[in-house]
């Protein structure tokens, strides 16, 4: 019996979402009185993997993240070898595709997008109805799969002394292949941003986004927008947040000239702190906000930019 964490350790430094899954896995392993095995892939150097908080690391050197079928075979294989009782993935772009495949492969119940560890009854909480409610889920199978919603638990990084071994099992050939990656601009990628500055139709036109971008820059934030704004091509589609766009849960969400329609809120209601700037005191967004300014965005934004500059200078 053991706990398996599947995480992406590639890149210049190990992603926060990977560290979150390790923290989650470690807490589960402690509770179950068992060990933690990290299943990972790619080219991270062995010494870096050994320093992660796992008892053992199995690394598949020759598979990438393009083909989730291969990754699922890998994870299921490690889970079988280790006699895993729990398999933990991140509910990120990769984990969302791998975790359900692993669950189906192992005929294991899955909690998709968990926000808590199991409670005394072993039930795990997740968001449902696009963040408008939460559900406690019971898993009825001996092997259990959890994909952890990013930003749900604080990282408790510990120094590890894991043994690292290379995976030699057969995962078949990749059927899905990457042809090209078009890098987004300089900015912070929206799904990973801790702070998001978002604007809606109240900004009147794309020519006015300079103010939004300047505030975002001063706050080290990513930019986002409401659906009509991306539908009218004022902003790129990948900035659209809400029910039919991206769901985000930053620490701070600043909404400028957005009315706060229920479909918009569905994508941002997991944010820790919400600020709303709108010239209509009746705008529904104020009901969902922690801080608000009733005023004209074109008057308010320059004041915010100035204050943010001042704060940066003092910091």
């Amino acid at each position: 019996m053991s706990v398996i964490v599947f995480a992406d350790t590639r890149g210049a430094k190990v992603a926060k979402s990977a560290l979150e899954t390790l923290t989650y896995g470690r807490k589960l392993a402690n509770k179950e009185g068992t060990t933690l095995t990290l299943a990972t892939f790619g080219d991270a150097p062995a010494d870096r993997l050994a320093a992660l908080d796992a008892n053992k690391v199995t690394v598949a050197r020759n598979i990438g993240d393009a083909d989730n079928q291969q990754l699922a075979r890998f994870v299921a294989d490690v889970a079988a070898k280790e006699g895993a009782k729990w398999v933990i993935c991140s509910h990120d772009d990769t984990g969302k595709a791998v975790a359900p495949r692993v669950a189906a492969r192992l005929k294991a119940g899955e909690v998709a997008g968990a926000t808590t560890l199991p409670n005394e009854q072993g039930h795990i909480k997740r968001n449902v109805f696009s963040g408008k409610a939460q559900a406690w889920v019971e898993l009825k199978t001996p092997v259990k799969v959890v994909s952890l919603l990013p930003n749900s638990i604080p990282v408790e990084a510990a120094q590890g002394t894991a043994t690292v071994e290379e995976f030699t099992g057969d995962t078949g050939t990749a059927k899905v292949t990457v042809k090209e990656v078009r890098k987004a601009g300089e900015g912070i990628p929206l799904p990973e941003a801790e702070i998001v500055v978002s604007a809606g139709r109240g900004m009147k036109g794309p020519e006015n986004w300079g103010l939004v971008e300047e505030l975002a820059k001063e706050l080290h934030a990513a930019t986002a927008c409401s659906r009509p704004v991306s539908d009218m091509d004022w902003r790129p589609h990948h900035e659209h947040v809400g029910q039919t766009g991206l769901a985000i849960r930053p620490n701070l969400y600043i909404a400028i000239g957005i009315s706060g329609a229920i479909q918009h809120l569905a994508g941002v209601n997991g944010s820790k702190v919400i600020c709303v700037i709108n010239n209509d005191p009746e705008a529904p967004f104020f009901k969902a906000a922690d801080y608000g300014i009733v005023g004209d965005a074109f008057q308010v934004l320059p004041k915010l930019i100035e204050a943010a500059k001042k704060l940066n200078a003092e910091k």
Partner: protein, 246 residues
């Protein structure tokens, strides 16, 4: 090309969220149900565009009771050729995937399209589970999809970048924004939908691997703290010293 589109039946995006039976079941009383937006605007419409350009057929499949039929007719009105309803209340994401896979297994579909997620269950589970059960490759979160020469090419918005991936048919794809524009069914479509085939098939045996045992509504938000517009800069100060988020 033979395309199967997974259509789920969900409460309207503006529906009131409430629970009954001591918070163990969704209260659907008086709630309007719709085709899940990702299934409709993106998966179904793109399937129709591919069929219109290259020939073939678009079949929809829904796991649900008779109450889902108006939702299925909506998909037919938008342009699907025929529909299948697996006659069972879905037990969990795995059960839905088992039912879909059992139907699709020997039908020779070239492409199986699902939505990115349902707006009620938000699992993002059914697409990849169907792929696993059918032993097919799976492309998640496709924002663009094209098919040529027996190969699918998709664009995915991941980690802020755009990734272009390729895969030979058959495969399963989950569809996100960008793939197609919404189509409003016209009168002819609505009339035609009444007589299009809607086959009801029995469910295969399958157990629930997970259950939602209890629901909660988020605690009511505290009243908003308003800052006068003239002193807007104060907001930044409060975010730093009080909320501690910047």
């Amino acid at each position: 090309m033979k395309i199967l589109v997974l259509i789920s039946h969900v409460p309207d995006t503006t529906a009131r969220i409430a629970f009954t039976n001591d918070n163990t079941a969704y209260d659907a009383n008086g709630v309007q149900f719709i085709v899940n937006p990702y299934d409709e605007w993106y998966a179904l419409v793109r399937a129709l565009e591919l069929k219109e350009a290259q020939g073939g057929s678009v079949t929809t499949i829904t796991v649900g009771g008779a109450a889902t039929e108006p939702t299925i007719r909506k998909a037919l009105a938008i342009g699907a050729d025929d529909a299948v309803r697996v006659d069972a209340e879905p037990k969990d994401g795995h059960d839905v995937a088992v039912q879909v896979a059992a139907y699709a297994k020997d039908k020779g579909f070239d492409l199986v399209l699902a939505g990115k997620e349902t707006i009620d269950h938000n699992g993002s589970q059914v697409g990849p589970m169907v792929a696993e059960l059918l032993e097919l490759p799976f492309i998640s979160l496709a924002a663009k999809l094209d098919v040529a020469g027996g190969k699918a090419t998709a664009e995915r918005d991941v980690r802020g970048d755009v990734e272009v991936v390729e895969c030979a048919l058959p495969l399963v794809v989950s569809c996100a924004k960008g793939m197609a524009e919404q189509r409003i069914p016209n009168m002819r479509g609505i009339m035609a939908a009444r007589t299009k085939p809607l086959q009801v098939v029995p469910a295969v045996a399958s157990e629930a691997l997970s259950t939602s045992v209890k629901f909660e509504l988020p605690p009511p938000k505290q009243a908003v703290k308003l800052i006068p517009a003239e002193e807007a800069g104060k907001l930044i100060e409060l975010l730093h010293t009080e909320a501690k988020v910047i």
